[in-house]
Structures are given as structure tokens and as C-alpha cells.
Assembly symmetry: C2
Amino acid sequence: MLQHPPAEPGMREEEVDTPALVLDLDAFEHNLDTMAALLAPTGTRLRAHAKTHKSPVVALAQMRRGAVGQCVQKVAEAEALAWGGVPDILVSNEVIAPRKLARLAALSRIAKVAVCADDEAGVRAIEAAAEDAGIRMTVLVEIDCGAGRCGVDPGPPAVALAERIAASPHLIFGGLQSYHGSAQHRRNLEERHAAIAFAAEGTRRTVEQLRQRGLACAIVGGAGTGTFQLEAATGIWNEIQAGSYAFMDADYARNGEPPPFRHALFVLSQVMSAPRPGGAVLDAGHKAVAVDSGLPLVHGLAGVRYTGASDEHGTLAAEDPAALPRLGEKVRLVPGHCDPTVDRHDWYVGVRKGRVECLWPVAARGGMA
Amino acid sequence: MLQHPPAEPGMREEEVDTPALVLDLDAFEHNLDTMAALLAPTGTRLRAHAKTHKSPVVALAQMRRGAVGQCVQKVAEAEALAWGGVPDILVSNEVIAPRKLARLAALSRIAKVAVCADDEAGVRAIEAAAEDAGIRMTVLVEIDCGAGRCGVDPGPPAVALAERIAASPHLIFGGLQSYHGSAQHRRNLEERHAAIAFAAEGTRRTVEQLRQRGLACAIVGGAGTGTFQLEAATGIWNEIQAGSYAFMDADYARNGEPPPFRHALFVLSQVMSAPRPGGAVLDAGHKAVAVDSGLPLVHGLAGVRYTGASDEHGTLAAEDPAALPRLGEKVRLVPGHCDPTVDRHDWYVGVRKGRVECLWPVAARGGMA
């Protein structure tokens, strides 16, 4: 069930119902402009990742600044984007269930849709869905370029799978998905360099072997907010899949030489209990702000820390009790991890210079399948 | 936006779209019956906590077995229950924002509604909302019985706040909220005993001091799944607020002498990638199953462990690679923490003996405010 919007346009931010997902529109637009400016000289395209924002409104704002399309992880996300007018979507993940593939095939009638595979059984399932729908589906081979999660090994296993795709009557071989997820949050820039150099070697080798078999990679996609400048500099990847750059969370800010973006996404919260001096309790616990990558940061209140999250409560502490916000005060939290925090909420409250300017639904919130 | 239901009644469980929240109806009903049987001889009422289940269907199943009503933490949860036919709801938490209190006052026209306070400013805000709505609102005083989060101290501070409520023309003093949250998960039974003995002393003392001032406690509420048998045995609490007992998660199962309930709630997931021997990747990461209280357990597959959660992927490992499920296989996960896991999903898929029997919406999912 969609929840009440927590605000109305024109309200002051202090009037917004809490907890709420607040997007600082000036910082958000700065981040989009910064990414466009950084990628322009590299010739690398941006296909921003919608698993972060789950919103066609955000997607279209990215595309107005030059993004060629969007990535998603789930078919439900692809649907929310296509229904919202996004014309070009890559599911940067494996989909093997026939019910999901049938939905994806249906969607390809209203948007350009591609999907990944890392197993012959996956290729057969996609071929069957495309045949049933009477369409041709573009399929990328995912390679494991170092993260050790999904993806076939670079080189011959990837080439064999690509040939299988190319030989399938209802499939089009679309290129490589080569994303090094665990490299994004390595704290040291040299470690990120080493991880992407390793990923680049396997990716380059695979692209070359495919070329020798006559298979061109229309897309060589990968990279995230923590490493995209490294991938873009190699000339191997032609599409960057960063997502968090639009919002910039506390975990990315902990990287050494962090990515050059501003915190744009906040969970606005209220002190709803302060029974004793030296303590304050917020109405935002881990149902409102994700804690998988660390607790949120308290924004703009020097010396105040968010020290504990339970389901619906967050506790604050400060060396100087006078620094704590008082009962009823509202506090901006910077989420530890933006993607799952967005997925907890039904609405973005877009704020500019202290006033609510817009309300955007988190259209693919809860899109599991 | 409400997502597609992941199943249809009559389907086999293996056909359910993943990831999905699966409720084993036999185990669920066993848990409800067990709680009713345990509380009957104590004379203590059950007011089950809906922050766990967020569903009027679950609430009414609990009430058919004798629960007198429901607790909630948020006004949005109270609305979802009242609109779904639940007649008696306690917000076991402070509400201080005028917009929220106005919604709660409106709701009191269709259900019996009560709320907590731990500050005079909170009492004034509730009085103002009740006066504006032309109703009388029941207010409980929350005391801090040991957890150190919300609540005034037992004894004179609680009595002073109760007198303030009783003197407010549009309020009714309803009793005490005395919940020791941090005691629920203490692993050792003796530690739980000691925590509840401490809570009981402060609660008993406060009830007695209130009685001396002529203030009777219609409700003395508290207790959770980890300790309710201790509170019920004291004769001080007259309402038990357990919620997780209905589903029973992995974290409660880690308690020494764990509560006597069966795992009824699962996240059904599918192996969507298995590119290398010895590894398997599920389609359920921490957007589908909460990890704040530890990773989920793999149900019914001996030797297989869920070793890592990213946003949309879960990795499995096993000492014996042959024990791992294969690509396409479906796996039941026992969530580490049931409450936030339920809040990630739009639908319960009720299953009995391998067949989908019902689909229940998680009506208050995402109910933040």
C-alpha cells in the first residue's frame, strides 16, 4: 500500500512529516552535472544504475544530461522505468525464471531492453521467453572480473557463452557486463587501482577474443561510483554504471580520495523522546535508514553522533549534552548506504533552499522479482 | 507502488516468484495457539505487537485466539489496522507531531486508540489534538524500566506525568507502558531474569504510588517474545506485547532456552547464478531479508550457510560443494530479524503443505510516520 506523502509542495522542510526521504535538489543537480562533466572528455557513456534511485523521474533527469539509458537489477525495476518513459534499460544481472523473463519480453515492446547471462541454462531460458513473445532479446555475457560473485570467467568461457547467444535465433549478443562490485568501497585509492587494473586485463582479453570470432561488443559495461574514473580512463569499458553518485552516501564518503559528489540524500528525522539530559531519541531507526554499511551521520550538528538503531528509534549522543537537538527538533541524517535506504521509502521529498519543491514516488520500491 | 503479488492461490511453493515472503500457515497457527495456551493460566492479556506483522489479517487471527487488541509503533500502522477492522489499538510509543496526532485523533472515531507520552510537551500536544478533534484520548505514561531509551524514570516522575494527563480535560490516563527492549535478546536466561526483576521493581513501585494518588492503571503493558513468560509470572503487567512469537526468527532462536515457537516466516529465494563449483548466488540480498540482527539461516539444507548479503544477492557456501543447491533451485531462508524483513515486502504468501493458500498484503509496509 502506498503511504501518505510526507509533505506538500511549498512547505518548509521543518514541516515535513518524519521520517522522510529528503532530496536536496541543488546538491542532486550538482552531482548529475559533475558526472556529465567528468565523463565527457573520456568518450565513455553513462548508463546510470537505477537500483539506487528506483525512479523514472531521476532516470530522466540523468538522461537529460546525456546518460544513454539505465541499468537495473530486477525486472520490477525495469517495469517501473519503462512505464515511466525510460526508453533504454539494461538488466545488469542474471534473470532465469520463466515468469520474470516473460515480463521482460513483454516490456521490450515499449522500451529497448537487454539482460545478462552467465550460464547456458540462462541463455536457453531467455531464448525460450523471446521465442514465446515473438521478439529478439539482447543478451550480454557477465564476466567475473574480480569480485567473485556472478559471471563466467573471462576469456574462453565468456566467448563460448557469447557464441551460444549469437547462435540462438531469438537472441542478439550485446556485449559484456564487467562490474567489480567489491572494488567500489576499498578505502585506499591504490587498492582500487589494482582491482580495476585486474578487471581491465580480463575484460580487454575477452573483448579481443570475441573480436577474433567476429563478435563485437556493442556494450562493455561496468564501474560504480567508487571507481568509474579508473574504468573510464582505460578505454575498454564504453558504458559506466554508477548509481550512488547522484546521492552520495556516508559509506562512499569514507573512501580515501572519495568521489567528488555532495551529500544530496537525507533521512529527515525528529527527536521524539528526550527524557534524560545527555540523550535524545529520533523517530528514524533501521526501518527508515539502512545500516548494512554503517550507521548514518548526523548532518550539520557538530559533535552529535547517531549511536544506535533499533526498528523505529535512533539514539543520539554528544560529548557536550548542550549540542544535542531538543525534543521536537528535526535532524538530517546522511544514510550509510543510499540504495537500500531509498528502497525503504515511498516518496522523495525534493527540497530547494529550505522549501519543498516536488514529491517523486519511489516507483520501483520493493521491486524484488 | 504496490508490487505484483509473487504467487497465486493453488500454486506449488516452488512456483512462487522470488524473492518472496512465505508464511508457513501450520507453523504460524501453532505459534498463535501456543501463545494463547501459555498466557491463559497467568490471567495476563495479549496485546500482540503489529510492528512485526503490519497486517490486519494477522491481527484478527491473533484476536480470534483471545488477543484483546494490538500494539503499533507508528500512526501509519494504527491506520492500516483500524481500516482493516482491528477495534483496539495502542501506540506503544511517543507521538509528538501535530499532523500525526490529528490523524490519530481522527482514527479514534473508528477504533479504540491510545498513545504514550514521556514528556509534558507530549501531553500538551496530545491534549491539543484531542481538543481540536472534539474527542477524549487515552494516554499511557511510558517508563524507562531498564532499557535506557524512551520513558520517564519510574516513581515520582511517572506519577507527575500521569497527574498531568489526568488533569487534562481531553485526556484519560490509561496506565503504564513498561517495555524492556534490550532484555529480549540477552542470550542467558539468568540475565533475562535479572533484567525483568529490575523492570518489575520499578513498575510495581510506580503502580503503587499511582494507586495512592487515586490513579488506577487500566493497562500495565510491556514484554516481548524473549521475556513474556517472566513478566506474566510477576502479576504486575496485565498486557503482554509480544510480536515476533507469531513468526519466530533466527535471532530469537539464538537465545539460550529460546522461546517455544516454530519458524513460520521465510524468504523464499532462488539460485540465480552458480558459475563456479563450490559457490551459489541467491536472488535475495539485504533488500529482501534484513541483516541488522545477523545473516539469515538456510532452512532444511544441512551444511549450507548464507555467507554474505549485498543489495540483491546472497552468497551461499558449504564445506561439501555437493550440498549446495543448483542453479534454479529455490531455498527457504529464516530471517535474522522478522520485523524489518516483513517491512521490505508487499505480500505474504501463505503456504500450507507445499501449496499457496492465501495472499495477504503487508498493509502497513513502509508506514514511517
